[in-house]
């Protein structure tokens, strides 16, 4: 037989089926629920400075989410998505990378952007779609992006960033850069055709990309049991011939460790890696969602006990890298800062009328210039009906 096409296995003379149980998938855990290390656990590269930065990022994440969900309820922003209970996955993985690595996220990975240093003001300006938003007020809240921080602007259609990440990493490889790409996606998005396309192409074209699946058990109301019946998403890595690891996504040290190792491998070997981080979406899908329609309080309560931030805090305290005083002070300060930032950002003007037609193309083509002119004339005629723009024409 043509053994380019497959790996030789044993020859059998009566049918033998393999199935989901044919592959055993270990799960990496380093930090126990109480914040102590598992015996023999291998720590990631992490000193007090980095650990503190990670912890502060987690805290900022928690506070921003909490406050912005509240702000949405008050009608101050139109929409928000929190990552409550699964912050360690995005923050920890970002901490396992270098700043020059490209991040292509789904939408629930604001933690990675925080770690990179996107400022509170920048978050706010995006959410308030004001004229200081890097995205020029065009996308819904939480669709962040920053060229400077190598964080690709979020796109709502699910899964599209997966083959894009393969292509992005191919470019990095061709240009010989010391940089990899990380691509985040959810257990739901992993069902999209683009997932299949992206993973297979990354494997075939040998690119330095880390596919990071946040398996949080739900895609809006759809539980994983109605999303797939394989052994999580990790079992698919085998099919693509991609090195794959499953980790406890609420164990920040496991996340950092796996990402550090994955980065080293993908860069050295020019081959992709799949990381499946097991977690749970403790909050609603978004501020438009109400999970009580599809899951129980008990289930949620069980996961409340598995708080990744508390787990890290306990480890930090145990290391004497952190104290309860610092804790109180940090959270207080963060809450104040966020509230203050809301007040500033909501008053900043909306983007100019010109921003309606720029960036559709590199240059504004003639027909859009005409459409803009006509719109200006129209608004001048009815200034009261277009209050956002009328005053600034």
């Amino acid at each position: 037989m043509n053994t380019d096409v497959y790996n030789e296995g044993p020859v059998v003379h009566e049918p033998v089926f393999i199935d989901g149980h044919s592959v055993e998938i270990p799960i990496l855990k380093i930090l126990q629920l109480d914040g102590s290390l598992y015996p023999n656990a291998k720590l990631p590269l992490l000193d007090q400075a980095l650990a503190t930065k990670v912890y502060k990022t987690l805290a900022f994440h928690r506070v921003l989410d909490e406050r912005m969900v509240a702000a949405q309820r008050q009608g101050r922003i139109s929409f928000y998505m929190s990552a409550l209970g699964e912050e360690a996955a995005s923050v920890g993985s970002a901490a396992g990378l270098e700043p020059q690595d490209m991040i292509m996220a789904q939408y629930r990975e604001q933690g990675a952007l925080m770690f990179r240093g996107f400022s509170l003001e920048q978050f706010m300006n995006q959410m308030f779609s004001n004229e200081k938003d890097l995205g020029k007020g065009r996308q819904m809240p939480i669709h962040y992006g920053s060229k400077e921080l190598n964080y690709m602007t979020i796109s709502s259609p699910l899964g599209t960033q997966i083959p894009q990440a393969a292509g992005y990493a191919y470019g990095q490889k061709l240009q010989g850069l010391d940089a990899v790409t990380i691509c985040y996606f959810g257990d739901g998005a992993a069902s999209e055709g683009d997932f299949h396309a992206g993973l297979n192409m990354a494997a075939v074209h040998q690119v330095p990309v880390i596919f990071f699946c946040r398996n949080n058990g739900y895609a809006i109301s759809t539980p994983s049991s109605e999303q797939y019946v394989g052994n999580g998403i990790a079992s698919r890595g085998v099919g693509y011939g991609i090195k794959t690891i499953r980790i406890d996504g609420n164990d920040i040290l496991a996340v950092i460790k796996a990402t550090q190792m994955a980065r080293e491998y993908v860069l050295a070997e020019n081959k992709p890696v799949v990381i499946e981080a097991m977690s749970y979406r403790l909050g609603a899908h978004s501020t438009s969602d109400d999970p009580s329609g599809y899951r129980t309080r008990e289930e949620e309560a069980k996961w409340q006990e598995n708080d990744p931030i508390l787990r890290m805090k306990n480890w930090m305290l145990g290391n004497e890298w952190w104290s309860e005083e610092q804790e109180v002070e940090l959270f207080e300060k963060l809450r104040e800062q966020v509230l203050a930032a809301v007040k500033v950002s909501e008053k900043i003007a909306k983007p100019s009328l010109e921003s309606l037609v720029t960036d559709v193309y590199h240059d504004v083509p003639h027909h859009l210039q005409v459409q803009l002119e006509q719109l200006k004339e129209h608004i001048k005629k009815y200034p009261d009906d277009y209050p956002i723009s009328a005053g600034r024409l």
């Binding site: 759809t222 109605e226 329609g293 909306k350 559709v360």
Partner: protein
């Protein structure tokens, strides 16, 4: 008669269709127990069981591929695409498969039982990816029928017709009106005809044509124009493909003027098809150029969606332009 909003009317139509024929199935992302993110399929899983109303994995090309297979098999699938903005991964299954299934097989097989429901349109602070009106992409595809209702009464009657139609139908639901539009809807079964436009208001000076949520804007503009003494004939196209040339042409032969308004961007939108056809059908009777009042030729924005939209004021201005031409 009962007072229903547009969502309730849809839900009611689905309920009737499922009760009548146990081959009718409703599925899509979050469509099952939860009843869909807009709750259009609310209660149907409880009533008809999980095998007939269920969640699918998150893969639009799969949802429509699966639906095509079911329809070919003799089931009656009603597939939901969560937002019309997310219909594009299924474009191949719709345009190359569903639309061509009967033709390519010489009528050995067909997917005439297929209905695709999807919420479309803007004005809900949805930005680029929760606001699109993609009907024109499908209108260039022989083999499909494309339907858009404007209110609860229309929604129920047209959806029931679409489900029973022997051709694949894409049914675009104006999500801005899901809860905002309410009205009297018969509780019993009824159908409204596909392929027929409806003259909503008779008029003599200019014909105004739109569909779906955009009807509100042209009706409002007609009111403004009325105050100026302009009599508008207001028409709801209802079916985009195949469309009712006859009714529109008759109206324009009478009024001598036509304005078409759509939410989608101007260029190569369906308004263009209508204008192209009507300038031919009514050439000698047109007293002014056919006006198109549409979205800008840009993606759908967020902060400036009011400025972007083809609202009643823009329609009103265009009416005056047409009359004073």
């Amino acid at each position: 008669m009962a007072n229903m909003n547009l969502l309730q009317a849809i839900n009611n139509a689905l309920d009737i269709a499922m009760a009548e024929n146990d081959r009718v199935l409703c599925f899509g992302e979050d469509v099952g127990h939860f009843g869909g993110v807009f709750r259009a399929t609310s209660g149907l899983q409880e009533k008809y069981g999980k095998p007939r109303c269920f969640n699918t994995p998150l893969v639009e090309q799969g949802v429509i591929g699966f639906a095509n297979g079911l329809a070919a098999q003799g089931s009656v699938p009603i597939a939901e695409i969560q937002f019309a903005d997310y219909i594009f991964p299924a474009f191949d299954q719709i345009v190359n498969e569903a639309a061509k299934f009967r033709y390519r097989s010489g009528n050995e097989f067909n997917v005439g039982n297929l209905t695709i429901r999807t919420p479309y349109g803007g004005g809900i602070a949805g930005g680029l990816y929760h606001s699109q009106s993609p009907e024109a992409y499908f209108a260039h595809t022989p083999g499909l029928k494309v339907v858009v209702p404007r209110n609860p009464y229309q929604a129920k009657g047209l959806l029931l017709a679409a489900i029973r139609e022997e051709d694949p139908v894409i049914f675009f639901e104006p999500k801005r009106l899901y809860r905002a539009s309410t009205g009297e809807v018969p509780e019993q079964d009824y159908q409204l005809p596909l392929g027929k436009a409806e003259i909503v208001t008779q008029g003599t000076d200019i014909s105004l044509l739109a569909w779906g949520a955009q009807m509100e804007h042209i009706e409002k503009a007609a009111e403004l124009a009325k105050a100026d003494g302009i009599s508008c004939e207001v028409i709801d196209l209802r079916t985009i493909l195949p469309w009712d040339v006859e009714t529109i042409a008759q109206s324009v032969l009478k009024t001598g003027r036509l304005l078409i308004s759509q939410e989608a961007p101007l260029t190569a939108g369906f308004a263009s098809e209508i204008a192209a056809t009507i300038q031919q059908e009514c050439f000698l009777h047109l007293e002014s150029p056919i006006e198109r009042v549409c979205g800008l030729d840009t993606p759908y924005p967020l902060a400036l969606e009011k400025e972007y939209a083809a609202d009643h004021l823009k329609v009103y201005e265009a009416i005056k332009r047409s009359i004073n031409y």
